[in-house]
Symmetry: C2
Subunit: 305 residues, 2 copies
């Protein structure tokens, strides 16, 4: 089996980012300007600011690669990928609001409510969320009707109260009332895991794969979603340790408990290796065709930013 | 042709409100509580507060009656009506936020951010918006797949940047830079008209009516959407005039221009009569079956609250 190098993977990830950004740009540009409706230029500019933000586009990459695995057309997969990125970016725009995380900067740029204003940021998030479903429901997403409906259902569940938004609400509640370990795992599976899982499942749905394949891809998504969060926690712990001059995260500054802070960085690194192995094993039936997804699992676990 | 009295109409509207509230309650209750996900109880309570708020449920009524006109099943129509009400109520929750209209009360009750907190109100709005698409995409909405997809596409367009959210953004911009009359009409057609229009069109889509019928129902929706806004403006003008002891709204207190404030209340009343006539005429092909929708057009134009 051909091994994919980190550099091969990064080239593929950058190519995906370029394609998805071109797709998002085209979709936003196509929003009509004349006739019965008037294009709200400031809102559109805020949506662009929120979604064309130079992200790594990991979730779209998962959609494109899982779609390739099950033979869904790349054009349709790109639209599904763009829809998923709209949801991810809407959540960032709303999470950055003063009433939520109150962040002024994202990727070195002013957040949407800083570059525009709070009301516009709320509406830009709302409009990106709404646009995601528009994109998949549109016949321009050339997939069978049942596949488009299943994608919309799975995406709305991944984004809503039983998924990302619900996880965010549990995370807010965790500031008052610290959850136990099982609670942290559930919270994270919802807050960050659900969209990653959807990205991996999306290709199986778009390609009308068997239920067994869909379930396998969802499990793959769950594994790398958990790895994504653990790697994030580990980065926090390590950068805290560096910043604060402490050797470990055991006595880190007061804040939210994470699995990494509960069990320490050695445990977290061992967990990450286990999750990558589990993710790679899940892809065994697909042979070499799964190589880029295997590389994505390693990338997620080993990322340093 | 049997005439529907105001009282018959109000009975039908109340029945619809009860049925839609029961449907919304059932949908929210069915959000899972156990297993891999944890139900965020505070967020769910905030969604309930936002959507089970004692509204008149005019938009759901339009969905149910237009569905009856084209033979779509009532059970499916109720779910589409519930989805539309989720979108309407999400927009109220977000519009009430401090960064937007900053309202503390709605229908005599604390707004969601007052009863809970701002972050929860933002997430509750997001989750209601997301839930709307979940509801229609779910096979429990027993409509053909193409009809469900068309409903999702039409609803996302009515709610997004080219519809309600875009109209809200134009309305915010109008506070700085007053639009001309054509601009006011476009803004209102988007901000309040688009969801009402969708409600009327929804039955034609759900019942797989011809494109001509769908277009006719959309025009009916546009007419009563405009009437809805004019009646609202007229109420503002009249209550201002009463409060301020002035005979007309011509020199009303500084504020946003409306068609009624530009042209006066006599003009607005004449326009309303014309819009009701236009709406009634559009329903002519459907005979008595359109009586409750005709009554809805009169109700919208004559409402006093």
């Amino acid at each position: 089996m051909l091994q994919i190098t980190q550099s091969d993977f990064e080239t593929a990830l950058r190519r995906c980012a370029r394609e998805v950004e071109a797709e998002l740009d085209a979709i936003l540009t196509a929003i009509p300007q004349s006739g019965e409706i008037e294009r709200p230029e400031k809102l559109l500019a805020a949506m662009r600011h929120g979604v064309l933000n130079g992200g790594k586009r990991l979730r779209p990459f998962l959609v494109l690669e899982s779609s390739a695995l099950f033979g869904a057309k790349r054009g349709a997969a790109l639209r599904v990928a763009a829809a998923l990125e709209c949801i991810h970016c809407y959540s960032l725009v709303h999470d950055d609001l003063p009433a939520m995380d109150d962040d002024d900067l994202r990727r070195g740029q002013p957040t949407v409510h800083k570059a525009f204003d709070e009301a516009t940021a709320i509406l830009a998030g709302d409009s990106l969320l709404t646009l995601a479903f528009d994109i998949i429901a549109d016949p321009a997403t050339e997939l069978p009707e049942d596949a488009r409906l299943k994608l919309i259902l799975a995406l709305s569940r991944a984004a809503g109260i039983g998924g990302m938004a619900g996880g965010q609400a549990l995370d807010l509640a965790a500031e008052q009332d610290a959850p136990d370990e099982a609670g942290i795992i559930r919270l994270q599976a919802m807050k960050t895991g659900a969209l990653i899982r959807f990205g991996c499942e999306a290709g199986a749905i778009a390609g009308k794969a068997s239920n067994a394949d869909r379930e396998r891809m969802a499990e793959f998504g769950s594994a790398i979603g958990l790895a994504f969060q653990l790697a994030d926690d580990l980065l926090d712990l390590t950068s805290d340790a560096q910043t604060m001059g402490k050797a470990t995260g055991k006595d880190q500054q007061a804040g939210k408990a994470t699995l990494a802070s509960l069990h320490g960085s050695d445990w977290a690194r061992a967990q990450l290796r286990g999750l990558v192995k589990q993710a790679e094993d899940l892809l065994a039936p697909y042979g070499e065709a799964g190589n880029l997804l295997r590389a994505a699992a390693r990338f997620v676990a080993e990322r340093s930013s």
